[in-house]
C-alpha cells in the first residue's frame, strides 16, 4: 500500500525547471534512494518533501493526506541534513530534546525519550557532551537520533555519508541501514553515489534534469536499464556506436567497427545505428583474431579477483573489459569478444532518426 506519494511534482527556479513532473510512490517502511548527478533535481525533490519549497504543480500525499502546503514545522517529517545542522550551542541531549519539546514532551518522559534515542544510535550516556567534542561519525548519529526522536512519519536523508571519511562510510552505511530497518520508518534519501543508493535503497529512483529516468530495485536497474543514461550512470559500462544489421544466426547481429557480433540475451532492436552499452564483465579478452574487435590495452587496474582493462579499439572507442589479473599488459594488442555468458550485460539503444 502506498504510504508516501509524489504526484507530478514540478518546481521551477527562475528559468530552470528543477523538478519536472516527478511522480513516485513509496511503500510504508520502504527506503527509496534518489540517485542522480548534480543538477538532477534530487535535492529539490527532498526539499519539496520536507516542505522547505512549495511545488509549482503537483502534490505530496502521506497516507492519502495532502501535505503539499503543510509547513515543515507541522509536517512531522524528520530530516538529517548534509552537514547535520546540529545546534552548536546546545549539548547532545538538548539537541535531541528539541524536537520532542515541540510536541510538548517534558520532564521525565523527555529525559527517557532522549536516552532512548541516544541508545538507538549507540551513544547512550552522551547527553551532556558538546557537539564540538564529537567526531564526524558521532555527529552524524546524533543528527539521526535527533531526527528520529519525535517519531516522524517520514525520514529524509540528504547525502547522509558525504561528510564522512571514506574509511568510515561503509561502516556507517551499514549502521544506518540496520537502524532504519529496526525502526521501520519510511525513508527517502538523496545521493549521487551509486554504491550508497544501491546499498541503502530498497528501490532506487534515477533522476536527470528534474525528470525520473527509471525507478526500480538495484538489480532491475543494473540488469535492465530503461535507457542509455541509466545504463551509463548505474554501474560500470562502456558505450560503442554500432549498426544493428538484423537477426543473426544466434540473437541479434550488429556491426561493431569492422567486425560482426551475434548478441544473445539482448532486447530486440530495430535495424540501423544504435548505441551498445556493455558491462565490463560481458566482454572477454583474447589474442587478436578474426571476428574479435581489435585494440590496444592502455590501462590495467587491479580490483581484486579480476583486473579491469581499458582497451582503445582501432576504431577509437575506449572500452572497459574485466579479465584475469596479469593476463595482458598495457601496450599489448588484444581482441575483444562478447562473453559466452554475457548475462544481460549488453544493451542496445537505437540512435535518433526515429
Amino acid at each position: 500500500m502506498t504510504f508516501l506519494q509524489l504526484e507530478r511534482l514540478t518546481k521551477r527556479f527562475d528559468n530552470t525547471l528543477a523538478v519536472d513532473g516527478l511522480s513516485l510512490s513509496i511503500e510504508r517502511g520502504e527506503m527509496l534512494a534518489l540517485l542522480g548527478p548534480s543538477g538532477s533535481g534530487k535535492t529539490t525533490t527532498l526539499r519539496l518533501l520536507a516542505g522547505f519549497e512549495v511545488p509549482d504543480h503537483g502534490r505530496v500525499l502521506v497516507e492519502g493526506e495532502d501535505v503539499t502546503r503543510v509547513d515543515p514545522v507541522a509536517r512531522r517529517f524528520g530530516m538529517v541534513f548534509q552537514h547535520y545542522a546540529l545546534f552548536p550551542h546546545l549539548d547532545v541531549g538538548q539537541n535531541i530534546a528539541f524536537g520532542l519539546e515541540s510536541l510538548g514532551v517534558s520532564g521525565e518522559e523527555l529525559q527517557r525519550r532522549v536516552a532512548r534515542a541516544l541508545a538507538l544510535v549507540d551513544l547512550g550516556g552522551y547527553e551532556r557532551r558538546r557537539i564540538s567534542q564529537l567526531s564526524g561519525g558521532q555527529q552524524q548519529r546524533v543528527a539521526l537520533a535527533r531526527a528520529l526522536a519525535p517519531e516522524p512519519r517520514v525520514l529524509l536523508l540528504d547525502e547522509p555519508l558525504s561528510n564522512l571519511d571514506p574509511s568510515l562510510r561503509e561502516r556507517t552505511r551499514r549502521e544506518i541501514r540496520e537502524l532504519i530497518r529496526r525502526v521501520g520508518i519510511t525513508t527517502v534519501l538523496v545521493t549521487h553515489e551509486q554504491d550508497e543508493a544501491f546499498d541503502l535503497g530498497d528501490r532506487v529512483a534515477v533522476l536527470r534534469g528534474g525528470r525520473l529516468e527509471q525507478v526500480g530495485t538495484p538489480e532491475d536497474l543494473y540488469a535492465s536499464p530503461a535507457n542509455e543514461f541509466v545504463a551509463g550512470f548505474v554501474g560500470r559500462s562502456s558505450g560503442i556506436e554500432v549498426v544493428v544489421i538484423g537477426p543473426g544466426e544466434r540473437g541479434v547481429r550488429v556491426l561493431v567497427e569492422q567486425v560482426e557480433w551475434d548478441l544473445t540475451d539482448v532486447d530486440e532492436a530495430p535495424q540501423g545505428p544504435a548505441l551498445m552499452v556493455v558491462r565490463p564483465e560481458a566482454l572477454r579478452l583474447m589474442a587478436p583474431a578474426p571476428g574479435a574487435l581489435a585494440g590496444t590495452v592502455t590501462e590495467r587496474r587491479f580490483t581484486g579477483a579480476a583486473s579491469l582493462f581499458t582497451v582503445v579499439t582501432d576504431g577509437g572507442s575506449s572500452i572497459e573489459v574485466t579479465g584475469p589479473p596479469r593476463s595482458v599488459r598495457a601496450g599489448e594488442r588484444v581482441g575483444i569478444m562478447p562473453s559466452r555468458r554475457a548475462g544481460g550485460g549488453i544493451h542496445l539503444f537505437p540512435r535518433a532518426g526515429k
Binding site: 524528520g78 552537514h83 545542522a85 550551542h89 524536537g99 531526527a147
Partner: protein, 552 residues
C-alpha cells in the same frame, strides 16, 4: 507563495522606516541648502564658494584627514607586525595595552591631552621647570595638536586591522613562498603586504572617515585652525542656516567620495572572522640584546600610551581651584566622585547618558536583527536597499546627521513625516540610534551570514515555529555578533559629543556636555571624574563584549 507577500510587506515597512530616519533628513538638508525665500537658488552655494573661511575649513578637513591616515599607519602597522609576528617577554600584556586608546571616548581623550600637554599640563610644566623656561614650551593648539590627538587615537585602527590580517594569513602561504625561494623581504613585499592590502585599505578608510568627522579635537584645540565640522557648528550657531546646509552638503560629498575611492577595501568585514588554516607561528626573539631593547621600547611605549588614562585618573582627585601652577596637584580628594553620585544635578548627566545609550542600543539591535531576518534569511525584495541604508550613516559625519535631524524634526508636518522632536526627550536617542545602526547591523548581519541556514530548517523539521526557532536557535547563535555590535554601539552612544552638542536639551544633557561645562568652570576634577567614569564604563563594556561575545 502565500507567505511571500507578508514578508515582503515587512521588508517594505523596514525600508520605509530607514528611509524616513536616514535618507529623508539628509534630503531635507539638501533641499534647504538650495531653496531661498523665492524658490530654488544657487545663492547659498555662491556664498559658500565666496566665503574664504569655508574653503579654508574644507581644505583643513581634507589635509588633516590625509595626514592622520599617514601618521596612524606609520605608528600602527609596525606595532602590529611587532606584536603579531614576534614573541618577546611581555608581548601579551603589551599587545593588549597598545589597544587601550580605544577605550577613551574622543572628548575624554582630548581633555586628557589637555591635562598632559596643555599650557598647564603635567608634561608642559615639568619641561618648563626642568629647562627653566618663562612659559610653556609649546602651545597645544592648531593643526599640530589635532594631529597629535588623531594619531594617538586612530593608530589603533591600523594596529587592529593589521593584526587581524596577519592572524588570518595561512602559515602554508608563507611556507609556500619560502619553498619557492623567496627571502624574508620578498615574502613581505610580494606575499604578506598584498594579502594585507584589503585590511590596510579598511584601516585607511576608517581613519580618514573618523578624522573627517572628528569634532572634539578641533573644537577644543583648533584655535584659529578651521575644519568643516567645527565650521558647520559655528555657522549654525550664527543663525546662518542655509549656509550651514551647504557646508553640510560639502562635507558629506567629501565623505562619499572617499568611500567611493576606497570602496574595494575590507572595512565591512568582521575583523574577528575566522580563517582557514593555521596562522603563522610567531618568531621568538632569541638574542638577549634584542630582547632587552624590545622590552624597554615596549614598556616605554606602554607608559606613553597610558599617560592620558593615568592623567585623567590623577586629575579626577583634584579639588576645585587647588591646582594652578604646580607640576603635580598639591591636594587630593574623593569629593569629585561623591558629587557625581550625591548631587542630583551632577548625577543627572550620568543617568541621561546611561538611558540614552541603552535605549538607542536596544533599538539598534532590534532593527538590525529584524534586518538580518528579512534580508539574509527571508531574502525580501529591496534587501540590497535595506543593507545600503543601514551602512549609510557610517559614511556621514556625526555633525551632518545632527544638522539633518535638527532640520527634519524642527517643524510639525505629520503628513510629510515631520514632527517637532527638537528640544524633546526623543531627539537624542533617535540621533544615537541612527549613528549606531551601521556598527550594530554590520556585526549582526555578518553573524546572520555565518549561520548555516540548515540550522533553521532543522529546527522547522523538529516542529519549532518561527518564534521558537528565533529564540532557541538563531538568537543564541547570534549572541557573539549581537554582544559585539551592541557593546560598540553602547560605548559610542555613551561617550557621544558630536551629535549631542547640537541636539541636547538641559534635561537630556549627556556626560560629554557636562564635562565641557565643568571644564569651562575650571572644575577640572569633576570633568576628569566624569571622564574616568566614561572610560571605565567603556572599558568594562568592551571587556564584557570580548568575553561574553566569544563564548558559546
Amino acid at each position: 507563495m502565500s507567505r511571500g507577500w507578508r514578508v515582503n510587506l515587512l521588508g517594505a515597512v523596514l525600508l520605509l522606516l530607514l528611509t524616513w530616519l536616514i535618507v529623508y533628513p539628509l534630503l531635507l538638508v539638501l533641499v534647504e541648502g538650495f531653496r531661498g525665500p523665492e524658490g530654488w537658488t544657487l545663492g547659498f552655494v555662491r556664498q559658500f564658494l565666496a566665503h574664504k573661511n569655508d574653503g579654508e575649513a574644507l581644505w583643513g578637513s581634507l589635509w588633516i584627514s590625509l595626514a592622520s591616515v599617514v601618521l596612524a599607519a606609520v605608528i600602527g602597522v609596525p606595532l602590529a607586525f611587532l606584536f603579531g609576528r614576534y614573541d618577546f617577554p611581555g608581548r601579551r600584556i603589551l599587545g593588549w595595552l597598545v589597544a587601550l586608546p580605544a577605550v577613551l571616548p574622543p572628548l575624554v581623550g582630548v581633555i586628557a591631552f589637555l591635562f598632559l600637554y596643555g599650557e598647564s599640563g603635567f608634561v608642559s610644566l615639568l619641561i618648563q621647570r626642568l629647562m627653566g623656561l618663562e612659559q610653556a614650551p609649546w602651545e597645544l593648539e592648531g593643526a599640530g595638536a589635532i594631529l597629535l590627538v588623531h594619531a594617538y587615537s586612530m593608530y589603533v585602527y591600523f594596529y587592529l586591522f593589521t593584526r587581524a590580517g596577519l592572524a588570518s594569513l595561512d602559515a602554508s602561504t608563507l611556507e609556500a613562498a619560502a619553498s619557492l625561494g623567496a627571502g624574508r623581504w620578498r615574502t613581505l613585499r610580494r606575499v604578506v603586504l598584498p594579502l594585507l592590502y584589503p585590511a590596510l585599505g579598511g584601516a585607511a578608510l576608517l581613519t580618514f572617515m573618523t578624522s573627517l568627522a572628528s569634532f572634539s579635537a578641533p573644537y577644543i584645540f583648533g584655535g584659529g585652525f578651521r575644519v568643516m565640522t567645527t565650521q558647520i557648528v559655528a555657522t549654525r550657531l550664527n543663525g546662518d542656516n542655509e549656509l550651514a546646509m551647504i557646508e553640510t552638503v560639502s562635507l558629506t560629498l567629501v565623505a562619499l567620495i572617499a568611500l567611493w575611492l576606497l570602496r574595494g577595501s575590507r572595512v565591512l568585514d568582521n575583523a574577528a572572522a575566522g580563517s582557514k588554516g593555521t596562522a603563522p607561528m610567531r618568531v621568538r626573539v632569541q638574542s638577549g640584546k634584542a630582547r632587552v631593547v624590545l622590552g624597554v621600547l615596549g614598556w616605554g611605549l606602554a607608559v606613553l600610551l597610558l599617560l592620558p588614562h593615568l592623567t585623567l585618573f590623577l586629575v579626577s582627585f583634584v579639588p576645585l581651584g587647588t591646582w594652578t601652577t604646580e607640576p603635580l596637584p598639591p591636594a587630593y580628594t574623593w569629593r569629585n566622585y561623591l558629587t557625581l553620585v550625591e548631587d542630583p544635578v551632577r548625577a543627572r548627566p550620568l543617568l541621561n547618558s546611561l538611558w540614552l545609550a541603552i535605549a538607542s542600543t536596544v533599538a539598534a539591535v532590534v532593527i538590525a536583527v529584524a534586518a538580518g531576518v528579512l534580508t539574509v534569511r527571508r531574502r525580501v525584495r529591496g534587501r540590497g536597499a535595506i543593507e545600503a541604508l543601514l551602512a549609510l550613516p557610517w559614511a556621514v559625519p556625526g555633525t551632518v546627521f545632527a544638522i539633518a535631524l535638527a532640520t527634519a524634526f524642527s517643524i510639525r508636518a505629520p503628513l510629510a513625516g515631520r514632527f517637532v522632536l527638537i528640544g524633546t526627550l526623543w531627539i537624542l536617542p533617535l540621533a544615537y540610534l541612527v549613528r549606531n545602526l551601521p556598527i550594530t547591523s554590520r556585526a549582526i548581519l555578518a553573524g546572520f551570514r555565518s549561520l548555516d541556514p540548515s540550522l533553521d530548517e532543522a529546527a522547522a523539521t523538529l516542529g519549532a515555529g518561527r518564534w521558537r526557532t528565533l529564540r532557541r536557535v538563531t538568537l543564541p547563535l547570534l549572541r557573539p555578533a549581537i554582544v559585539a555590535g551592541a557593546s560598540l554601539a553602547f560605548v559610542t552612544a555613551f561617550g557621544d559629543f558630536v551629535t549631542s552638542i547640537m541636539l541636547y536639551t538641559y534635561d537630556t544633557r549627556p556626560i560629554s556636555l557636562e564635562i565641557l561645562s565643568s571644564l569651562r568652570q575650571s572644575d577640572v576634577g569633576v570633568a576628569a571624574a566624569y571622564g574616568v567614569v566614561l572610560m571605565a564604563v567603556s572599558a568594562a563594556v568592551f571587556a564584557l563584549g570580548a568575553d561574553r561575545g566569544s563564548g558559546g
